[in-house]
């Protein structure tokens, strides 16, 4: 019996750990989408964040500098995306896809130049990795996010940018500027999420290490109805299914692993169909604002 409860505890801890990068990315996506910018480039931000963090942590020996660098890389990539979708008003889905492809193409090139390795960075010693810090960081972010989004002026401004941009404009706040800030914030958060992948969940950057987490984060955001607290719960739930399927791999169990693996997507589809109450995207999502 004691064994069972121990396993349950370790399963829970494992769920929390794997939920950390998801949470950062999902919150990043939340800010971006609520401000009206469709965000399917989370995967790219995560990847570039993971890569940059691993490189910086390798050279400086500090995972904190790695996280900072990951955030900066995310901001930079978000800036590139912003230039296309906000300044040039390119289709946001197309631009997001391009950003993902750009990230996937850049990473092997960088590792080849720096380490003469096709795709991975050198392993980080235990002292340049995180042990628990990112989990506290994620917890702090969750509290901060809920407060900021509903209780502060800037949080409300972001909501208006995605719901009623014209009204916001009439009230004298620039929608464009708001979306720029939101997009860059998204890049920063997702970049940090990526950093936790390479400096916390593992000890190096390895090729395509995001493995679709950006899209799972997007699913969590949709499952969480574009709201901070439900998104947090969705990330936990997806983290749990991930931890569970990891444990079930190669074990002869009653439930096939493949079934557990599709759960996140299955639930997202069910959520979109409105089974868990109304699920509605921000009204002005993906629309560019043409000032008269």
């Amino acid at each position: 019996m004691a064994q069972e409860s121990l396993n349950l505890f370790s399963l829970l801890m494992s769920s929390l750990r794997v939920a950390v990068p998801l949470l950062f990315a999902a919150y990043g996506g939340l800010i971006s989408e609520r401000s009206g910018v469709i965000q399917i480039a989370l995967e790219g931000f995560l990847l570039i964040g993971a890569l940059t963090a691993a490189i910086l942590a390798h050279y400086t020996g500090s995972p904190w500098l790695g996280v900072l660098a990951g955030a900066c890389a995310g901001i930079f990539l978000a800036g590139v995306m912003g230039f296309f979708v906000l300044a040039l008003k390119v289709d946001q889905i197309i631009a997001g896809t391009a950003i993902n492809l750009l990230a996937f193409g850049t990473a092997p090139f960088v590792t080849k130049v720096l380490f003469d390795s096709t795709g991975s960075s050198p392993a980080l010693p235990i002292e340049s990795r995180f042990t628990v810090a990112p989990m506290f960081l994620a917890a702090a972010l969750s509290v901060l996010m809920s407060y900021w989004f509903y209780q502060t002026r800037s949080g409300l401004v972001v909501q208006f940018a995605g719901e009623a941009p014209q009204a916001l404009e009439v009230a004298g706040t620039s929608v464009l500027k708001t979306r720029w800030k939101s997009l860059l914030a998204c890049g920063a958060l997702a970049g940090i999420g990526g950093a936790t992948l390479s400096t916390y969940l593992s000890s190096a950057y390895s090729p395509n290490m995001t493995g679709g987490r950006g899209f799972i984060a997007l699913a969590a955001l949709i499952f969480g109805r574009w709201k901070p607290l439900p998104t947090l719960l969705a990330c936990f739930f997806f983290g749990f299914t991930d931890a569970l399927q990891i444990r079930l791999q190669g074990v002869n169990s009653l439930i096939p692993v493949q079934f557990v693996q599709i759960l996140p997507y299955l639930f997202t589809v069910i959520a979109l169909a409105g089974f868990f109450g109304q699920s509605r995207a921000p009204k002005a999502l993906g629309q560019t604002l043409n000032r008269g």
């Binding site: 064994q3 121990l6 396993n7 370790s10 399963l11 494992s14 750990r17 794997v18 390795s117 096709t118 795709g119 991975s120 392993a123 235990i126 990795r129 042990t131 992948l197 969940l201 593992s202 000890s203 190096a204 390895s206 090729p207 395509n208 290490m209 493995g211 931890a243 990891i246 444990r247 791999q249 190669g250 074990v251 692993v257 493949q258």
Partner: protein
Amino acid sequence: MRDLRLFFFALMMVPFFSLPAQAFKVGLVLDKGGKDDKSFNSSAYEGATKAQKELGIELKYVEATDSNALETLHRSFASKGFDLIIGIGFAQADAVKKIASQFPDRKFALVDGEVVAPNVRSLLFEEHEGSYLMGVVAAEKSKSKVGFIGGMDIPLIRRFQMGFEAGIKKEKPQMSLVSNFIGITGDAWNNTAKAKELALSQYGSGVDVIFVAAGASNAGVFDAAEETKKFAIGVDSNQNWIKPGFILTSMLKRVDVAVYSTIKEAKEGHFASGTVRYGFKDKGVDYAVDKYNDKILDLATRKKLDDLKSQIISGKIQVPDYYKKGKK
């Protein structure tokens, strides 16, 4: 106009002049883990670069990003005049089979897979025997339970697992084994985060020695061993150096030796097709002792292992082989 034509003519001649004395050309097609997996592919790459240095061959390597690319990579080497093309990993068997039949005058070699063709040499290893020794080491060192983490869930890795289990049962019949596989796709060779989570979960449930056979994903298990202060056993290359003090030993699978000798024989003109099996006898399979595990692998254990090794070579001990399961 005439000058221009002359210029183009000169340009066309360049390839003919820039190939001095036709070096023997070898194309190496690595598996998804990539040349820096510090394990299976690294070993193959090492063997090939050794041949490049010592035999003066021309070496080109590529890494397959996904299985669909394999056939194209083999075909491109074959059509570009490479003399010997070596495929690393079981996943390349189909590609080698197809391209070898289309280019009968090129030579092919395949590691971890068997293709019967007049121009293909299959290089196989007796992994189950090496794993058996690892099972003995793990059981001897463990105070509670031992674990196994495999990369992709395929017969080859099941073969590791089966030999490992037999070794454990030989040493301590009552000891239980916890087994997990990282995944069912090629991504499993390259998923350190998942490997680490699996290892943490095994160590958390009381396992104190884990044998891991998962290519580049091995690093995740070693990290977990270091963090929880437990033991791990590496595979393919000598991985003892990665986390000194936490890696008991490594099961060596000398892909480098197989690759090197194949290149050497092909270059010297006596390439032989057919299947070559590497085992303890020719040191194609072995366990690693070096300064990094000298202190944790005591002499009595080493003596026992060498003793078992000779018993396996002489056929006194028959290690169960997953490949032959149900074929009796």
